[in-house]
Symmetry: C2
Subunit: 313 residues, 2 copies
Amino acid sequence: MFDEIRAAAERLEGIVHRTPVVTSRTLDKKVGAEVFLKCENFQRVGAFKIRGAYNAISQLSAAQRERGVLAYSSGNHAQGVALAGRLLGVSTTIVMPTDAPVTKLAATRGYGARVVEYDREEFSRREVAGRLLEDKGYTLIPPFDHAHIIAGQGTAALELVEDVGELDYLLVPCGGGGLLSGSVVATKGLAPDCQVIGVEPEVADDATRSFYSGRIQTVRNPPTIADGTRTESLGKLTFELIRQHVDAMRTVSEEAIIEATRFLFFRTKLVVEPSGALGVAELLSGAVEARGRVGVILSGGNVDGATMAAILA
Amino acid sequence: MFDEIRAAAERLEGIVHRTPVVTSRTLDKKVGAEVFLKCENFQRVGAFKIRGAYNAISQLSAAQRERGVLAYSSGNHAQGVALAGRLLGVSTTIVMPTDAPVTKLAATRGYGARVVEYDREEFSRREVAGRLLEDKGYTLIPPFDHAHIIAGQGTAALELVEDVGELDYLLVPCGGGGLLSGSVVATKGLAPDCQVIGVEPEVADDATRSFYSGRIQTVRNPPTIADGTRTESLGKLTFELIRQHVDAMRTVSEEAIIEATRFLFFRTKLVVEPSGALGVAELLSGAVEARGRVGVILSGGNVDGATMAAILA
């Protein structure tokens, strides 16, 4: 898998941003460590998701590319697939519930995707997507449980370690585990002694329970502000990689997530979405005894105005 | 003055951040130009003000430094002076009205300054400051109308042109004119053909009127959200430099300032205070026919939660 991440990094060069690493004296002082924030909030589409989507779509056969791709997502993956498709000249169809935020629908269409809306009361997205995949011959681009997606997402951590050197710890948000599994493989490949820790909300702790129990656990519609981590469970592939390579999983409270988002706003002047602030939430709430050089992946910055207004007020 | 800016840059090296320059495809497309955002929101104390304050305090005599310095400000200048004093081992006293935002009072004290509060109903800040200057022998660090302050502020534009090369336009927010006058001297020194344009709110257009009339005009408590530009007028020195070197002054509506602050938040993921967004407001409202390579100074990122919540909601 490490070689696949290297190959993904080559494919992505000049396509995605090599995002900057930001440091903050205030954060270092508060935490008692040297913290390196990898700013995927500055990534194209505002989150790391373009990395995996582009890496996956670019490896499809000519026939698959001709027929087009499909994804179901109401979040950053939708925009990642839409933009990757546009950049590669592949038509994209995104299945989204009719009650998805208007801004997300508009942004996804803005990147050139065809959006198919469905009523969540009447259908499941799998039904809707399944019918389209069969009728049209689209290729499904899954949000996380696919080797090409995982390899693409791993390039963010690869860049971080290349840019700042070896780390003692790396903190990574965990939803479906695509970013975390890619990050751990990339990091251990370059810096085997680095402790890689996944972070998720207390109220959406399925990956933590899965990690410690050794079996995939689920969660249903968890009431977390970190909407990027509301996925039902890890995937088969991501679970295996996480179980095998990750050093620990930690959970943080909703209050800690909000506090971290506020800290990043007021003290570092970075717009980070709540899911993207999980690593900083973990550091600030002090549960991890992170010492030395600590990397944190700020996974995205797509937060709507009402949510951020509530966080700031 | 250009040589003084060069000298200031040497003094500030390793003390202030050489802030990054951010670009945005979306912004370039919207504007039809190549735009370079100089991110002084990432500067220490969250705004460019540390540059001038440090440059001024570091040039005081040993006797002056021993007695300490004083500033009156309820904004970013207060924090700039407080931090510069701490870094130079010079005690700082800041005169602030009792009704200044609690966060600003706390932040200024947090940098180690002594804050003297006064009741705006009973005294003017000049009276309060005047008494302290006389009694204690403090040296006043003015917010903008001083050659050392202007030279320090000019180092941001100097870095920008050094880092990205020649520009066709540079847009700079204008309050008391310290940043604008320093920026124009720095820019014309390196790139004489660059058109330097000052931007202020329509409802606080004293500098624009001063520039075009040839006499210093004033404004009283202008109702602008761009609190960094509420100064009553340009100073003698800043007016002279602006009148002599700046190419044009422009004003923008409150709506345009809010829209620019939102754009920077949602599209570039940068926290920029309304005063810092003036240049982008000008570009997005399209009044300036900026073509080619356009620099914009984002002067700061210190916005309180309630103001930003109102802007985002």
